[in-house]
């Protein structure tokens, strides 16, 4: 697909507007919807906006989060026990319209979205002001053949993950199907970091050299000033998830957790 076509479909998409003006040193923060309280979503969004995150990823909690470490497993389980669901999340986002302006991406597992209905999911996401979606267990082939058209029709970006073990031809496939950016998983590990905790800058450098049509933004294992610096040096931005959720588990207070996170990253 030509770049100009992409622009048309995503006109007015807040993430697109952001990425057109800012192409480096981006900061995105992930949080689990419905944690620590069911009604925390609005507060967390406002705080992240206020503290200077460029965009957010809102995690849709799932009972069996295969790619997540113990921290996000725990926040997901609590969020589900709090009663979070896709419908509840959309209702919350509807009520925040106009109050929160930070671009939002939804990140979740495929099964809850399938059960909700992909068409209905996209329609409601778009009307709730969501910019894009990440579903790490939706295979690229199936996205292309079955679902891509639905996401595009609703002006929703779709973002694929690539890892240091993804071969080049598959990276190009992910690039051709992703809009907005590619999510570069810097280490072969579940969320919350692998054994070493060291980020694969080689991999990020390799992505840079591949001259992809999308920018790549690094995530998984980013937790402090040094890892943000590396992510910024070798990619267009840094995505922080587990480090934030850890603070939120410890303090139970979104204000405190957000302040501490930003202090760790930039203080």
């Amino acid at each position: 697909m030509e770049k100009s076509e992409k622009m048309d479909e995503y006109r007015g998409n807040p993430l697109m507007q952001l990425l057109q003006t800012k192409r480096e040193k981006l900061i995105s923060v992930f949080f689990t919807a419905g944690f620590p309280e069911l009604e925390s979503t609005g507060e967390v969004l406002s705080l992240l906006e206020k503290y200077g995150a460029d965009f957010v990823e809102i995690g849709i909690p799932y009972s069996d989060p295969l790619a997540d470490g113990p921290v996000i497993q725990q926040t997901s389980q609590t969020a589900l026990a709090n009663g979070m669901s896709i419908d509840t999340l959309f209702n919350q986002l509807d009520s925040l319209h106009g109050k929160v302006n930070i671009p939002m991406i939804l990140m979740g597992y495929l099964n809850p979205v399938l059960q909700y209905g992909v068409e209905k999911f996209c329609a409601r996401a778009a009307s709730a002001g969501v910019s894009g979606v990440i579903l790490p267990d939706l295979p690229p082939d199936e996205y292309k053949e079955t679902y891509g058209e639905i996401f595009r029709k609703h002006g929703l970006h779709f973002i694929f993950l690539v890892t240091p073990t993804t071969p080049p031809e598959r990276i190009y496939l992910a690039d051709s199907l992703s809009t907005a950016f590619i999510y570069a998983v810097g280490s072969s590990s579940i969320t919350g970091g692998g054994k070493s905790g060291i980020y694969s800058t080689d991999f990020l450098q390799r992505l840079k050299e591949m001259k992809l049509s999308n920018m790549h933004i690094a995530g998984f294992g980013i937790k402090d000033r040094e890892s943000v610096r590396l992510a910024w040096e070798y990619s267009s931005g840094a995505i922080i998830g587990t480090a934030f959720m850890k603070k939120l588990i410890e303090s139970g207070d979104p204000q405190k957790a957000t302040g501490q996170l930003m202090n760790d990253l930039f203080g």
Binding site: L66, N111, P112, L114, Y116, T165
Partner: protein, 413 residues
């Protein structure tokens, strides 16, 4: 029953049986699974592989397992009942068939260590056994709840040199052990082989496990020809959790137009109760452990907690092959409750002197649920032996001898 052309059942090149199966995995797992997908078929058709597997199945596992004519049970029911004695396999269940095959595959792929999930502990024991044999480091993930109700198997695995990791996430059973094994695999991609124990998971696992377990029906055909002068029984009965023994027991008979295939799903306290594990009868289509299949989930697509007295059947999904066989009418799946399974276990013990595993007892209980003509030839896959379940049985046994069936006994197991 639909008559299908008698060809071998294979998933399509993306791992689908009809609309079921596939590979719904995070990108982090893709390279691992892709390596397996591209290598399993060529390796498993090499002569050096099949020769070695045949030797191990014969000399180490003790195959072929007998096809035993259960005369007492036959008299009692009016059918001609054969038990395919997988319980006589080394380690006490059919699980070894699959483990031997996959461990050989792992070695051929150059993998240095093995991880596995286990429910009742049968697959864990089989894996620990083969790892001891082949001198491979072995880590078994097991739900914390299952480590308590199958303590004997934990001890066996540890004695065999395996590390048993109790899993305390989620419902603390097989589903969570599987999640944890997959996460470990993501974190240790290079030298680790994930040895799945059932016909579940992303493609190519359901196909690998089905093919390795198909030795059950292959032997049944030869043995039945000898004993009955025919290749096709009228019925084959097997229990289904993830579905590996059933896949193996059914495989050679699928769509032959004669044999009626019936799987027993664990209904727990009843298929209509909330405490059930009957995925086909009470579930809906969705994705679990990388496979599109029938599973127990709530309206939001969250996987629900299941219940069965048998840890090996306490699983919210089912192998995609079975979801497809059910949809196509090539096999039927009937719910069997905890209590029916227990009763069947005592019946079999009293009539034939065989104490079955609780899982296999579900298959025996199908005799009261299916329609068959007098004299019909029925093969029951007796997938495992009951030693591991003695604590559960003894609780019921005490109740029986007092003339009562304690309703809450499973909580103590």
């Amino acid at each position: 029953m639909t008559k299908k052309e008698k060809t071998e059942i294979n998933p399509d090149n993306r791992g689908f049986y009809g609309q079921y199966g596939g590979s719904y995995i995070p990108e982090l797992l893709w390279a691992n699974v892709e390596e397996l997908r591209t290598r399993y078929s060529p390796i498993m058709s090499e002569k050096s592989y099949t020769d070695e597997l045949d030797r191990l199945l014969r000399d180490y596992a003790g195959r072929p397992t007998p096809l035993y004519h259960a005369a007492n049970l036959s008299r009692k029911t009016g059918a001609k009942i054969y038990l395919k004695r997988e319980d006589l396999c080394h380690t006490g269940s059919h699980k070894l068939n699959n483990v031997l095959g996959q461990a050989l595959l792992a070695v051929k792929m150059g993998k240095k260590q093995i991880i596995a999930e286990t429910g009742a502990g049968q697959h864990g024991v089989a894996t620990a056994t083969v790892c001891a044999l082949m001198n491979l480091p072995c880590t078994i993930f097991m739900g914390e709840k299952d480590t308590l109700r199958q303590k004997l198997n934990v001890t066996r695995m540890e004695m065999l040199g395996a590390t048993v990791v109790p899993v305390s996430s989620g419902s603390k059973t097989l589903k969570d052990a599987t999640n944890e094994a997959i996460r470990h695999w993501i974190n240790n991609p290079d030298d680790t082989y994930y040895l799945i124990g059932s016909t579940i998971g992303p493609h190519p696992y359901p196909d690998i496990v089905t093919k390795l377990q198909s030795v059950i029906s292959r032997e049944t055909i030869t043995q039945l020809r000898e004993k009955e002068g025919r290749d096709e029984p009228d019925h084959v009965l097997a229990c289904v959790g993830g579905g590996s023994n059933a896949a193996g027991a059914f495989f050679g008979f699928i769509g032959n137009g004669i044999t009626r295939l019936t799987g027993a799903e664990a209904a727990g306290e009843g298929a209509d109760s909330k405490k059930t594990a009957a995925s086909i009868n009470k579930g809906s289509m969705g994705i679990i452990h990388g496979s599109k299949t029938m599973l127990l989930q709530n309206k939001d697509g969250q996987v629900t907690e299941t219940h069965s007295i048998s840890a090996g059947l306490d699983y919210p999904g089912i192998g995609p092959l079975h979801a497809w066989l059910s949809k196509e009418g090539l096999a039927q799946y009937l719910p069997v409750s905890d209590e029916e399974a227990i009763e069947a276990a005592f019946d079999l013990t009293e009539t034939e002197g065989i104490i079955p595993a609780l899982e296999s007892a579900h298959a025996v209980a199908l005799l009261d649920k299916i329609d068959f003509k007098p004299g019909a030839v029925i093969v029951i896959c007796l997938s495992g032996r009951g030693d591991k379940d003695m604590e559960t049985y003894s609780n019921y046994f005490e109740g029986r001898s007092r003339g009562i069936l304690p309703a809450d006994n499973h909580q103590a197991t």
